[in-house]
């Protein structure tokens, strides 16, 4: 009960952030909270399901492009193609761009396309019981292939620069303060809903079987469950969350480009969760905020240092604190008798 109260207070404090945070910090917080939605998806598949994906950026990108395509079409003159298509000499809209004129279709696509893509990949790979490091490598290859492909198809995707230059989104002028606040609250609502939904999923029978699959896939088989649908559904849910996160970040930044979700950003997403604590949903949010604010601060003060720092963080979090910040807090609490014992989470591979 005390824990729930704490979370509600935290949420209230975050909801009031527009009142006390300067505009720049607020926009950072909004964007990092949007990324936390994706991180909770990683927490579900990696922490609960034991599936390490190095390609979550791809699903993030799919969600982002779905929204960006709509914004691009909404911003273009009626009957004209978006500016970058004109530059590459394309004068007719490709057929698969057409339905994105409809805002409802674009919003639905931001959820459905990444979810379906994630489900298809997971089904094809897990069906043959390929998992663990193999799956991680395949998802990384996916991130590489997806970004090189998007960059090469400049006339359809905007290439390396991606899609940008939106004026308004769904009738709201981007850049207005009221739009910024609205987007921030929408993001916060998405974070809260995702938290509650993933928490419920983890507490359900589904979550328990998924956890069991992580700890002993073959034992689960012997108990009569087929692990495949559990892994596929979990991965699809994480894909949907990544898509939602991509859509929110695209609205927030006003751009989606391959540099935002390639091989390197995709693996950085995993480190957010590792830093926060892979077995804790709250840890995923905390880790995302800590790493991203840290990155923002370090790369503005010491631009050359960031890669050294993130490299060291990768090594240290794995060797010294495999349960991340949340794990460190828990073991601190376990050591001080006044606060009462807490069971340390089991070390998982």
């Amino acid at each position: 009960m005390r824990r729930e109260l704490g979370l509600v207070l935290l949420l209230a404090a975050a909801a009031c952030a527009p009142l006390y945070l300067p505009s720049y910090e607020l926009s950072l917080l909004g964007r990092f909270l949007a990324l936390a939605v994706l991180a909770m998806g990683i927490s579900l598949i990696w922490g609960t399901g034991g599936i390490l994906s190095l390609g979550q950026g791809v699903f993030f990108g799919l969600g982002g492009y779905a929204i960006a395509m709509h914004l691009k079409l909404a911003g273009a003159d009626p009957g004209a193609v978006p500016d970058f298509m004109q530059w590459s000499g394309l004068d007719a809209l490709p057929w698969w761009w057409v339905p994105f004129r409809n805002p409802a279709f674009a919003i639905a696509a931001a959820f459905v396309v990444p979810g379906a893509a994630a489900a298809a990949l997971a089904f094809l790979v897990f069906r043959r019981r390929v998992s663990g490091p193999y799956f991680a490598i395949i998802t990384q290859a996916l991130a590489l292939a997806a970004t090189t492909f998007i960059i090469s198809q400049q006339q359809y995707t905007g290439g390396f620069n991606g899609l940008t230059g939106f004026k308004s989104a769904f009738g709201f002028a981007l850049g207005d303060q009221s739009t910024q606040f609205g987007l921030y609250w929408a993001t916060l609502a998405a974070v809260a809903l995702t938290f509650v939904a993933v928490r419920a999923l983890q507490g359900s029978l589904f979550g328990k079987v998924l956890l069991a699959v992580r700890d002993g896939e073959n034992r689960v088989r012997f108990l009569g469950y087929d692990p495949l649908p559990f892994k596929v559904i979990a991965f699809a849910v994480a894909g949907v969350l990544a898509g939602l996160s991509g859509a929110l970040v695209t609205l927030d930044l006003g751009v989606i480009s391959p540099a935002m979700f390639g091989v390197v950003p995709s693996i950085e997403m995993v480190i957010w969760v590792a830093v926060g604590g892979r077995n804790s949903l709250l840890g995923a949010i905390v880790g995302t905020l800590v790493v991203n604010f840290g990155k923002d601060w370090i790369s503005s003060v010491f631009p050359d240092l960031w890669l050294y720092v993130v490299g060291a963080v990768f090594v240290l979090v794995v060797t010294v604190a495999p349960q991340g910040i949340v794990g460190l807090m828990t073991s601190l609490r376990a050591r001080s008798p006044r606060l009462g014992p807490a069971t340390p989470p089991a070390l998982v591979e």
């Binding site: 390490l52 990949l121 094809l124 790979v125 069906r127 043959r128 019981r129 390929v130 663990g132 490091p133 193999y134 991680a136 490598i137 395949i138 990384q140 290859a141 996916l142 590489l144 292939a145 090189t148 492909f149 960059i151 090469s152 198809q153 073959n218 091989v263 693996i267 995993v270 480190i271 590792a274 050359d304 890669l307 050294y308 993130v310 490299g311 060291a312 963080v313 990768f314 090594v315 979090v317 794995v318 060797t319 495999p322 591979e349």
Partner: protein
């Protein structure tokens, strides 16, 4: 130049790319097969080998520098690999996904270090005079086909290294231990094999071979801080397609993927061939999830 010489020429390019992939993947396949360790910093061993070659050439000159560079690249990266194994990898035994993340951290640090030392643009290595010619096969059916000396050298180098590694595994005492540990780690340990030493030796040998690959790579492409990244994903695909810890499988997979990429690039483009390659690997896995050469085992769980 007739059509057939064009095809043979491209095939040859594919084989030389495959040779570098093979050298890069050999160490990965060995350490993954033996220790279940995914070394994401393996690509940076290529990079390190390339820079070491560059340094040797600037010290010893173009002609002898490259020969010295090969040796320096092998020894330097092998030593670095040994250091990495002792300080980091050994601690993460049995946690393959965590090893993957930690070695990725190492690779980021190495890339940034290369950027600070050598600059972000990269350095060029000019081939030594004894390799800058071309081999032409005049007088045969393939008249008009000329093969750059460096490409031929890379293929020969890969063949020699593969042969040497195969010989070590098949004929030496260390090889005997490697085979024993590969087959059954606990029993090998129980019979007195020093598995820690075997792990160290294999890991270090693998990084050394990757250093050689970097040396070879520097002949055909500039050495940049991110050169490893552009090869590592393909090298991993080679390991997946080849099967765990099998030299034959790794060789076959490297040839398949190298030649596939080279031919797909004539037909389409670099980016599209990447997408095609990934699709083909996923389709391939539907039929042979354990790779071309699957190790026969009755164990339920992979150890």
């Amino acid at each position: 130049m007739s059509e057939s010489t064009l095809v043979v020429g491209q095939l040859f390019n594919g084989i030389s790319v495959a040779s570098i992939l093979l050298l890069a993947a050999l160490g990965l396949a060995l350490s993954f097969g033996l220790m279940r360790v995914i070394n994401m910093a393996h690509g940076e061993m290529l990079m390190m080998g390339g820079y070491l070659t560059y340094l040797s050439i600037s010290v010893f000159g173009r002609s002898t520098g490259f020969a010295v560079g090969l040796v320096v690249a092998f020894i330097g990266t092998a030593l670095f690999g040994a250091l990495l194994e002792i300080t980091l990898i050994r601690r993460l035994y049995g946690r393959p996904l965590d090893t993957l993340l930690a070695t990725w951290g190492v690779s980021l640090v190495l890339q940034q270090a290369a950027r600070s030392i050598f600059g972000p643009i990269g350095v060029e290595v000019t081939a030594p005079p004894w390799l800058s010619g071309t081999l032409s096969l005049g007088g045969t059916v393939m008249t008009g086909l000329s093969i750059p000396g460096v490409r031929a050298f890379i293929i020969v180098l890969a063949a020699v290294v593969l042969g040497a590694v195969a010989l070590i595994i098949a004929r030496t005492r260390l090889g005997l231990l490697i085979r024993a540990v590969h087959e059954n780690r606990p029993i090998a340990e129980a019979l007195g094999a020093n598995t820690r030493f075997v792990d160290l030796a294999v890991f270090s040998l693998g990084t050394g071979v990757a250093g050689l690959a970097g040396s070879a790579l520097s002949l055909i492409a500039p050495v940049t801080p991110t050169v490893g990244q552009s090869y590592i994903v393909y090298a991993f695909l080679v390991v997946i397609v080849g099967g765990l810890g099998s030299l034959t499988g790794t060789l076959a997979a490297a040839l398949l993927i190298g030649v596939f990429s080279a031919t797909a690039q004539i037909a389409t483009s670099q980016s599209f061939s990447d997408v095609l390659l990934l699709l083909c690997v996923i389709i391939f896995m539907q039929f042979r999830p354990r790779g071309i050469v699957a190790q026969g085992s009755r164990a339920l769980e992979e150890t």
